[in-house]
């Protein structure tokens, strides 16, 4: 695979929410880029801002946004300047689509799944309903849903099938980038393996890039070319998967990797002492410092992002 152009680039992306307790800095100055044909996995504990980042990238914002700023480049086009209407018409589901968290429950219960999968085609490409249904059938075959399911309602499908339908819906417009938010966390082991087989095949066959958001590090390795680790609203490390799963750089990544129980191999899993900080008043300096085993004096200052080859790490140890 030749080195490819950049599909997605985030520059100082920020998303803050207003709450009664104060301003929550859910996504705080996130920078990273993704090339075509690649899949980046964003891992982190719950509440670290992973899903908020997906929302920020796709501009699916809730009402209590306090600040939404930075730059989102999609194929060198800056999308932040677009109006919401323009963004909806040109970007969302045309260039970028989303498989939402708990996708199996995000289908509309009163519409047949075939209609739901064909809807994006009708909305964005103005094709007739018959044409869109044909496209939906092709997608169903791709993701392994029997074609006669097209006339069924979501409640008639099992969890794995519903997940496949949600996937079909996100892929039907052949977007350049698909954001998968915890696509398999509610599924059984075998179903999960099936869905990942499917995603791998898709990645190999099409030019689609993937952003996979998950807390499950073991299964994330099923798709990852690159791994981004998020902690308390910030990205602390972005590394090549081959490097990351062998020797993660940031102390948090190392701890996180050590907490994964492994089926094969001998090492006992360990846990991380303490809890992530509140995002309302995050600590100054490195946000992981309080739990870090390798903390030293400088950690009370904000660490810079250090570039190592293609990778980046936000830690004083590497600065």
């Amino acid at each position: 695979m030749a080195e490819n152009k950049t599909v997605l680039k985030l520059n100082d992306l920020k998303l803050y929410f207003k709450t009664t307790g104060g301003i929550v800095q859910a996504v705080d100055k996130v920078n990273f880029e993704l090339k075509t044909h690649q899949a980046v996995v964003i891992v982190g504990e719950s509440g670290c801002g992973k899903s908020s980042m997906a929302k920020a990238v796709l501009r699916l914002l809730p009402r209590n946004v306090a600040e939404y700023s930075g730059e989102v480049f999609l194929n060198d086009t800056e999308t932040m300047a677009m109006s919401d209407e323009e963004y909806r018409k040109k970007i969302r589901w045309v260039k970028m689509s989303l498989v939402p968290q708990a996708a199996m429950n995000s289908l509309n219960p009163v519409l047949r799944v075939g209609d739901q999968v064909s809807e994006p085609m009708m909305v964005h490409y103005n094709v007739s309903k018959e044409e869109a249904l044909k496209q939906a059938i092709i997608m169903f075959q791709h993701v392994g849903v029997p074609i006669d399911f097209i006339h069924r309602y979501p409640f008639e499908l099992s969890g794995g099938m519903r997940q496949r339908v949600a996937l079909a819906m996100s892929l039907v417009t052949s977007p350049e980038l698909v954001v998968l938010d915890e696509p398999t966390s509610a599924l059984d082991v075998l179903t999960q393996a099936n869905i990942f087989n499917l995603l791998k095949r898709f990645k190999a066959e099409s030019a689609t890039s993937f952003v996979l958001i998950t807390h499950d590090i073991a299964t994330s390795s099923e798709l990852a070319d690159r791994v981004a680790v998020m902690y308390a609203g910030q990205i602390v490390e972005v590394s090549d998967a081959h490097h990351f799963f062998k020797e993660p750089r940031h102390p948090y990544s190392a701890k996180l990797m050590a907490s994964v129980p492994k089926l094969r191999g001998t090492s006992e899993p360990d846990f991380i002492i303490g809890q992530p900080p509140s995002l309302i008043n995050p600590p100054t300096g490195c946000r992981f410092a309080a739990r870090c085993p390798r903390k030293f004096a400088r950690c009370s200052e904000e660490p810079p992002i250090t570039i190592i080859g293609n990778d980046q790490v936000k830690c004083w140890l590497y600065a």
Partner: protein, 347 residues
Amino acid sequence: MKNITETTQNKVNKAEKKTKFYNDNVFLSIKNLHVWFELRKWGFRHAGYVRAVDGVTFDLRKDETIAIVGESGCGKTSLMRTILRLNRPTKGEVVFEGTVINDLKAKGIKDYRSQVGYVQQDPYGAMPPFMNVQTILEEPLKINGVKDPDERVQRVIKVLEEVKMSPATEFLPKFPHQLSGGQQQRIVIARAMIMNPKLLVADEPVSMLDASVRVEILKLLRGLQKDHNLGVIYITHDLSTVRYFSERIFVMYAAQMIEKGNVDQIIKNPKHPYTFALLEGTSDPDANNASIQKEVPPGEPPSLVNPPEGCRFHPRCPKIIKGLCDIQMPPEFEPEAGHFVSCWLYK
């Protein structure tokens, strides 16, 4: 065909002798347990049964942890609820220290439940949001007749220290929503432990928690089990955590136990094609995974209303023996000592 049933009968007898050997240590035995739920049409007409648990037999020894592994809908939770005597078995027995608990009356059930702790899956949902930690933990003591308030507080503090919530007094007035997920789960474990039970049943105790906290809670459970000589039943769908925290693994598929054995036997040398697939489907963090397609059996687990004839895994099985697997239910074989598998491949 007759020949087959005879030899299997012999093997079953042998297996029975083997379990007798352990008998001094066994304190919970499940014997041919069936839990069926009736389906009704129009609210009254009989329309078949959901066979949630269909012929499960096992023994639990003192001071061991067993893990029951299976996909959702395979009957793990029904089995557990029957052990807790929240369901009544349709057929078969649950024997706890020589008492059959099926037909216990109210007083007997109360006594039994004070000896069995239950750790729920979702800690937040398992605690009343309007009670503070102290009230939550005192409740079982009150119900079981500990009348002295000072003694109750002493025991609450002791159990909080045991689940490593210190300083304990600081947590007493807190409400569940003021605690983190890990702390909530500790309180649930403390509540299960406060009556000094002999058996602890944990239903997916870590599936709602973060990866970094999971190991902490599992280690805590492991520690409690060792300190108190508990029998622990750990129900889960996640094979990767099982290895470190249990002695034996029972694999369940479509309401039946298809494979039983100790951890190394199951993980290093799985016999049943389904167990094999489960292990294959569980990933370890490794960048090379991304370039490999996994082998996954096609299809989905069968409906428990009309399970397939013969072996319930046969429609998905890559190693099916035509004319046998699809006709006759496989009995339990013992290809190596202490490792039981219900599969015709090992007859």
